[in-house]
Symmetry: C2
Subunit: 343 residues, 2 copies
C-alpha cells in the first residue's frame, strides 16, 4: 500500500493470535487507540481470516483494520524450535516477513515469547554490529521506572553482548522516552570494580571507555531507585531477578490482604484506605509498563504480556508506535557506529 | 575448658566487633539468650579486652561470658584479602582458630561478610568432598520460608558446586529445622529440562540421580511459594535475586506509606489498620530470619546482619546453637558419603 504510506506516521501489525484473550482483547485495544489516533496510525491484524473477520465486524473495524492472512497458529506451549520450523505460515512468521519486507513498520504480539524471539531473529536478523537480540522490560522504580535487559533471551552472554545491550537500552530510552543521556548501570554483586565475574569486569572496562553515560556497577537493590535508567545483565540473571521481584510483590500483596481482613479494626481500616492500597497494587503491575521491546533486531517487534487486558495491550502497541516514530532502528545504528568510531 | 564441656550442649563464641552496634548489641543478645538457656549454652566473646570487659560488666555478665582476647579489628570496608593477610590477630581470625581447635563449637559474627567468609575458609577449610563453602539465607515464603543458597560467596560455579550446595542446604534444613526430606529446587529460567545454561542442565541431571528430594527446575516466582524448601543457584544469581527482592519490598513499603498518607480517608484507614500493616512489614524483614549460615566449612560459622538489633542477633546465635546441637557437620558429611555411594 505505497500510496497510503505517506499519510501515516506508523503502520503497526498486531498478532491476531496468542495471549489469553485473542483476538478480542487485541481488537478492543485497536479500537481504543483508533478512537484517539485514527488518522496517524495504520493498523493491520495477522492471522486466520475466518476468526478475525467476524471479530473485527463486531467492533465495526473491518474497513479500517486490514487482515494479513496467516494459516497457522502457534500455541503457548509449542517449543520455540518446533514453532519455528513446523509452522512457517504462522501469524508470527507472516508478520515478521511483512515487517522485513517493509510492508509494515512494526509487529506486536502477545504470543509464545520464545517462538516470537526465535522467529523474529531468523526472519528480521540482527542489526549490523549486534550479535544477539535482547528482550527488555520497564520496571517500576522510585521516581519513575528503570529499563531492564536482557530478561531471558540470552542465557550465556559475553562481555561484548553486554556492551551491545547497553547501547540498545540506551538508544531505546532516547528514542521511546526522550531521555537525552540515559544512565547505564551494569548489574553486579557489589559496586566496586573488583566485584563479579570476568565477563562483567571486561564489560565494565569497555563501557567506561564508551560514549555512553555509564555509571558503573549497580546492585539488585539499586534497580528500584532513581540512580539509574538502564540496567544491563545477561538473560539468565535478568529472568531470575524479574521473576523474583514478581514473586515478592505477589507475596506482599497476599500478606497485606490477609492482614487487612484479620481483625474488625483492620477491615475497617482497609475499607477506608482501600483506594490507596489499590493504587499501590496498580503501581507494581502497571498496565502502562506492558510492552516488552525486542531490541537489536533489524525491525521493530514488541511483546505484550499474555494476560494483558485491552488497555495494557494498547500500551504495548503504543510502545511500538513510539519506537517507529522516533526511529529506534536508526538511532541504535548511529550509536553502534559512534561506539565503533570511539575505539 | 574440657571439664566444663560435658555440662554444655554447645559452646558459642560471638564476635565482639563488627556490625552497627557492637559490642553492646552483641552483649544484649547474649543477655537475652542467657535469661532463657543459661545452663545449656556456654558463651564467649572475642575481641579487644579493654572494650569488651567494661561492656560485659555493665550487664553483669563478666563472670558468665568469657573473653577470648583479639588485638585487631576488621573494618566493614576492609577488602577481604587485606583483612585476611594483614589482620591476623583479628577477632575473626582468633575466633575461627578457636573453632578449628575445638575450643568452641561455633562462631557468630556481624562483621565484614567477605572477610568472614575468606578467613573462615582459610582457617577452617571445607569438609571432605566439598570444594567451596556457600552462604545461605532464609527467605519468607507462603506457608513458612525457603532456604536460599548461594547468596554471594561464589560468583562462578560448576555443576558439581551446585550439587554440593544442594547437599549442604538439604542437610541444613534436616539438622536445623527438622525437615525430614527437604524439597530441593534448582533456580532456572523455566521449569523444562531444556532450559538454562549447560552448567544448570548437568547439575539437574546429577541431582535427578541423587538421593536428595530433587523436585527439578524452579523459577524466580517459585521461591516464595510452598513448592520448595531449598533453592540452589550460583552466588552471582543468588546475590542479585536477593537484593532485587529487598529492593522491591522496600519500594512497596515506601509506596504504601506514601499512599496511606495521601488523603485524610487513607490516613484514617492507615491508623485503624496500622498494626496489620506493621505485621506485613515485619513478615518481610523478619528478625527471626537473621543468621545466614556459612555452609560446607569444617566448623560452624553464622553471619548476623550488620544492622541487627539484639533480638535479631540472638536469633543468629540461635541458628548456631541449633546447628551445633543437631550436628550439622556430621549430617552433611553423611549426606556427602551417601551421594558418593549412590554413584
Amino acid at each position: 500500500m505505497p500510496s497510503m504510506t505517506d499519510s501515516y506516521t506508523s503502520r503497526i501489525l498486531v498478532d491476531g493470535h496468542g495471549g489469553d484473550g485473542a483476538p478480542y482483547i487485541v481488537i478492543d485495544a485497536l479500537a481504543q487507540i483508533l478512537s484517539k489516533k485514527s488518522n496517524r496510525v495504520k493498523f493491520g491484524i495477522c492471522g486466520q481470516e475466518d476468526v478475525l473477520l467476524p471479530a473485527l465486524k463486531e467492533k465495526g473495524l473491518e474497513e479500517i483494520v486490514s487482515i494479513v492472512p496467516a494459516a497457522d497458529v502457534i500455541d503457548m506451549c509449542d517449543p520455540p524450535a518446533v514453532a519455528l520450523r513446523r509452522k512457517k505460515q504462522s501469524s508470527i512468521h507472516i508478520g515478521a516477513r511483512a515487517v522485513r519486507d517493509g510492508e509494515w513498520d512494526a509487529m506486536v504480539s502477545a504470543g509464545n515469547t520464545g517462538a516470537l524471539m526465535a522467529i523474529s531473529k531468523l526472519i528480521l536478523k540482527t542489526l549490523p554490529g549486534i550479535d544477539r537480540p535482547a528482550a527488555a522490560s520497564m520496571i517500576p522504580a522510585e521516581g519513575g521506572s528503570t529499563f531492564f535487559l536482557d530478561i531471558g533471551a540470552n542465557v550465556d552472554c559475553s562481555s561484548e553482548h553486554l556492551v551491545q545491550f547497553a547501547v540498545m537500552g540506551s538508544s531505546y530510552l532516547q528514542a521511546a522516552e526522550g531521555i537525552e543521556s540515559p544512565r547505564v548501570g551494569l548489574l553486579n554483586i557489589g559496586s566496586e570494580d573488583i566485584k563479579g565475574t570476568d565477563v562483567i569486569k571486561v564489560a565494565a572496562a569497555r563501557l567506561r571507555e564508551s560514549n555512553l553515560n555509564f555509571i558503573g556497577n549497580i546492585e539488585g537493590t539499586d534497580i528500584f531507585t532513581d540512580k539509574v535508567d538502564v540496567v544491563v545483565c545477561d538473560g539468565f540473571v535478568g529472568n531470575v531477578a524479574l521473576k523474583s521481584m514478581e514473586g515478592v510483590a505477589k507475596l506482599m500483596l497476599t500478606q497485606i490482604k490477609q492482614e487487612l481482613t484479620s481483625t474488625i479494626l483492620a477491615k475497617a481500616g482497609a475499607l477506608l484506605a482501600g483506594s490507596a492500597l489499590r493504587r499501590v497494587k496498580d503501581a507494581l503491575h502497571p498496565s502502562e509498563h506492558n510492552g516488552a521491546p525486542f531490541l537489536g533486531l533489524n525491525g521493530i517487534v514488541v511483546k505484550s504480556h499474555g494476560s494483558a487486558d485491552a488497555y495494557a495491550y494498547a500500551c504495548a502497541i503504543d510502545v511500538a508506535i513510539r519506537e517507529v516514530e522516533a526511529d529506534l532502528i536508526g538511532r541504535t545504528l548511529e550509536s553502534m557506529n559512534q561506539m565503533a568510531e570511539a575505539e
